[in-house]
Each structure stands twice: as C-alpha cells, then as structure tokens.
Amino acid sequence: MTDEELTRRLEATLRAKAAQVPEPTGAFEPTTQLTELGTGSAKPSRGAWRYALVSAALIALVVGVTTVVVLAAGSDDSSRPAAPGPSTTTAAPTTVAPSTTTAPTTTVPTATTTTPPTPVTSRPLPPPAWTEFPQPSLPSGTVPVAGFNAYLDRYPSAAADPRPLALTFTHNDPPPTEPANALRVEDQALSSGRQQVIVFTRLADDSVAEVRYDLVFMPHSDGTWRLASASWSQRCQPNRGHQDFTTEVCI
C-alpha cells in the first residue's frame, strides 16, 4: 500500500465514521454534569481518600519526630543540674516545666515589640518572560528571530549577555537539572559577534536523540545584544535515521 493510498483510506475512514455520529440534541446543563463528573459536591474518589490518609500520616510522623527531638533537646539541657541516674530522660519534663512556664512571660513580649517592620524596597520589576517558542521553518530549519528582537527592543535590560539570551530564547532559563547533562551550551566567538550552540541531549524520545539550535548574536548600538540568526536541526537515535544534525525527520 502506497503512502498516498494509506492517507486516502485514512481520510475516507475518518469522514465516514464521523458522519455516523448523530447530531446531539438537548441543552447544556452544567449542574448535572458537574455532579456526574465528581467535580462538584460529589464524594471524593478512592484515590483522593488514599492521598488524604497518606498526607495525614506523613504530617503525624513529622509532628511526632519533631516533638521527640524537642523533648530530647530539652532533657539534655535540664538533665545537667538534675541528679545523675538512669531516669534522667523521664525526669526531664518535670524539671523543665517550671522554667518554661516563666520564660514566655518575659521573652514573648520583647520579641514582638523589638521586631522592626520590614522596609518596602522599590526594586525595578524584571522584564516579563519570553513566551513564544521557536518555530523552525522546514526544510531549511531557519527559526524566525524578529519577534524575539522586538522583545529585546522593549526590554533591553534582558539583552546584556548572549548566553542567558540563548537560554531564554529556547525556554531553558533556568537550565534544566533533570536528567543530568540534558542541555549543552557551547559559546563560540565570531569575528563580529558570538555564536551560542544549544544542544538538547538525553531526550525522552526513542526517535530523536538530540535537538540543536545554532544562535548567532550580534552587538547592538546600545551595547546590548540582538539575535541575528537562528537555526534548528536534530540528530536521530541509532537506527532511526540520520546521525548528523539535519532537518530531516527521524523514523
């Protein structure tokens, strides 16, 4: 079966099966649907109860461990003046109790009155995040950069260094830490600018091994940087296509 025949049959099948779905009738009833779907006042699912129980157990465990640690620390301090003997830990709470009852009356008010109010500092707001993703054109692999440069024109404070700019352009600011070595950045000096080569490795994809962006930055008149060109390429997994960086599809 040729590719064209396969897609033709697929399109015909999808159209024929879609045509079998009758036009639905009736109006929208949000309240009914919310209850049915369990998003309204319906009882929580078994999974939700399990999460609640596990959370409660964890909280109880943390509180218990903290209490034991605090009591142990208190017993260490108070056991020094106490008489030596095998029952120092059990005697600790009774010896600590009188001193702790008097302590709050003197320390708590001073703590609340001496705490200075936090001064409000007026730092400049950071520029908003770059939200567009690189959209390579095929088959050249060229990535449009005009939008990114317009963003840098609006927020030149973000255009001080090519390396973080490259990470921002590819949405890796801050760089990922998992899996380890998932991102490789190579900084190369050009005659009139800098080239940042970003390679995404260890992709969770059994077809594409590595994706690479070649970004060339040139200095701007105000001393900041602009993205002169960007290109995209990829390298396939072994036995899944080309092993060099090209724009060809992996299988």
């Binding site: 697929l10 015909a12 099966k17 959209q135």
Partner: protein, 181 residues
C-alpha cells in the same frame, strides 16, 4: 509522503506556520462575541465527532465533550478564544482517557455506538485505527480529519513541533504495520 503533504498545506505556506497566522488573526480581525450557548450549539457536533474518532467510543466521547463544556462554562468570561479552548480541552481529555475508559466501560456498555459501515475497507481501517494509542490517534485525527498543520496540533496538544511530526510519522507507520498483518 508526510513532507510533501506538509509543504502543500496552506498553513505551511504562510511562512512561520500557524502561530503567526493565528497571531495576525487575533490581532487584526475583530471576532464577533459569542455567548456560551452559541459556542455550545455551533461546536458540539464537531467536537463530539473529533472526540469519537480519537477515543473510538461514542458514549465516552459524549462524556468527555460534556466535561470540556463544563470546564469552559465555569470560566467562560475569562476565555478569549472559546473555540480554541474547547478543542484543546477535548483533545487533551481524549488523550488522557485510557484510565477513564476502563472505569466507565460498564456504565457505558449499554449506550449507543455507531455500527459498522457497509464498506469493508473503512471498517478494516477503523478497526486498525482503534488499536493505536490515543496520542497517536489524536495526531492522525487532527491532521487528516480536522486538517490542522503540525504547528497547530502542537499548540492543541501542548507538545513541541518536532514531537508532533515524529508521532505523526510513527502513527502512520503503526497504521501501515497494522494493515499488513
């Protein structure tokens, strides 16, 4: 085959792909304001058909489409593009519907399901299609039924462009393998 089809599509010829096209439309074309009832009436059938093609069950498709409408209803005032929101929600619910399908099998067993067609070619292809994983089926449906470009599919599914192309390629390869069995 895939490359040729992609290059011939109108959305690809708009350099920069669907993203720029949508940005232009969103910026310069005034969209008529639609009420929730309008969106519900105009989109329900198409969403139901798309969902059915992805999950392969009419009853489950109805549930998922209703859930998508319910989610949209609760925040309709804040949604700028109801059509896009709805399509994205429906398709993502469909892709995540495997567990739900298992849970609701019993309840949905008595519901209406479209019968086989009279054409063996179509029934055979449908049978093979329903054996694919939902995410691959979703890519094929959006590409070959909804006629969306890979960039548009990437936006809907929240994947990278490269991932969509790869899964599209693999979906067709899986389908061909199933057909040759």
């Amino acid at each position: 085959m895939f490359g040729a089809r992609f290059e011939n599509s109108a959305s690809f010829r708009n350099a920069g792909g669907g993203l720029l096209l949508r940005t232009d439309v969103a910026t310069f074309v005034e969209q008529p304001v639609q009420s929730f009832e309008d969106v519900f009436r105009d989109s329900r059938t198409e969403m139901l058909r798309t969902a059915y093609l992805i999950v392969g069950s009419h009853a489950l498709a109805e549930e998922l489409v209703q859930e998508a409408f319910t989610r949209m209803y609760r925040q309709f005032a804040t949604i700028e593009n109801p059509g896009g929101y709805l399509r994205t929600t429906v398709v993502r619910l469909c892709v995540q519907s495997r567990d739900r399908a298992a849970m609701e099998t019993e309840r949905l067993a008595s519901s209406f399901e479209p019968p086989a067609t009279a054409e063996p070619e179509i029934d055979e292809m449908w049978d093979r299609l329903t054996r694919l994983r939902p995410e691959r089926r979703a890519v094929l449906v959006l590409r070959f039924y909804n006629d969306m470009s890979p960039s548009e599919i990437a936006d809907v599914l929240g994947w990278r462009d490269v991932t969509v192309r790869t899964r599209l390629h693999r979906g067709l390869a899986d389908l061909r393998r199933e057909m040759q069995r």
